[in-house]
Symmetry: C2
Subunit: 197 residues, 2 copies
């Protein structure tokens, strides 16, 4: 191989999700052929992001300022908090531009298998935020997985004493989805939650 | 999104082979969660490799020294040159530990479709190296693709005036390969090139 430098970069690249040893080798050669246009800019962007980007101490979103841009944006509704598992979910909801309130990233889901308990999640700060009388609704937007729904139940229980209204995302047929391709669970849920036309 | 820093790093990550916008988002969040153990080391390793690693001016292999470690290794046979398309192929042959001579990386294959002509490949330096009387054999180890084999023919023609012995890798049934799963071309070639037991 080509000395320790390339090997080391390759070993780190191979730890990224979606890359393994073989694709890390392809990636590093791709980078070496684009030293000025991609390799050095990528190294600098990673170092700069690692230096400047921090979790928001209020909501857990990632930003260069703390509190984050969403928490301090006066145009966003301060009465509604949308609870998500991960920062990626904040990004997904922001891309959809479907939510105008604020977020709370709990940083994972309860999972006996992975040893994630309530203390590993960012729930105490959520209860504190929801106890503010200005907050009128908390929307639980966990993934529609078993762990996600377990976590949503746990959070709803924790929020009950605050008296805040707690809701969850609707489950049903995805927009553009074809019934023939949907799993039984989704179909059953869509039937149970049918709505008057 | 989370400010320009993360976006920029994500856009560069999305340009790596095997990663797209979605996996780049996953990768950057994975990195942010491992800031000290992975993100900063990766940034440093990439910057260091970009700074220190250069193509060998003799053979085209990547190394921190020029000529590269393989070209200057006195234990390697100086009489045989193995010609490969890319540095990845040098690594593959070195992993197999099946070749004790030196390499020549031509840096691609002839491809009318991609606009790669003879002048884009590192062939002149190969002809110069092969003209050294100390070199007795040149092994063409291009990929067994149409472009690879076209390129091998072109190189063999260019090497003919030097009088050096030119060989190519054997084609046939891969070790561990099952006939039922092999393509017709490989089977036909394996039959044509059958060997006495």
């Amino acid at each position: 191989m080509a000395g320790g430098e390339l090997d080391r970069a390759m070993q780190y690249l191979a730890k990224l999700p979606g890359l393994g040893p073989r694709s890390a080798r392809r990636a590093i050669l791709h980078l070496m052929k684009r030293r000025e246009s991609l390799m050095i800019p990528l190294a600098e962007a990673l170092a700069e992001a690692a230096r400047a980007v921090r979790p928001c101490s209020t909501c857990g979103n990632l930003d260069t300022v703390d509190p984050c841009g969403i928490c301090t944006d006066p145009r966003r509704d301060p009465h509604t908090i949308c609870v998500v598992e991960d920062v990626a979910d904040v990004w997904a909801l922001e891309r959809a531009a479907a939510f105008g309130g604020r977020y709370h990233v709990i940083g994972g889901v309860l999972s006996a298998l992975d040893g994630v308990g309530p203390d590993d999640l960012n729930v105490d700060t959520l209860v504190a935020r929801a106890s503010d009388p200005a907050v009128t609704e908390v929307i639980l937007a966990m993934n529609a997985t078993v762990d996600g729904q377990t976590t949503a139940h746990y959070i709803a229980d924790r929020l009950a004493p605050t008296g805040v209204r707690v809701s969850r995302l609707a489950h049903g047929v995805p927009v553009g989805g074809e019934l023939d391709y949907l799993d039984d669970g989704t179909l059953a849920q869509a039937l149970r939650a049918r709505q008057a036309v």
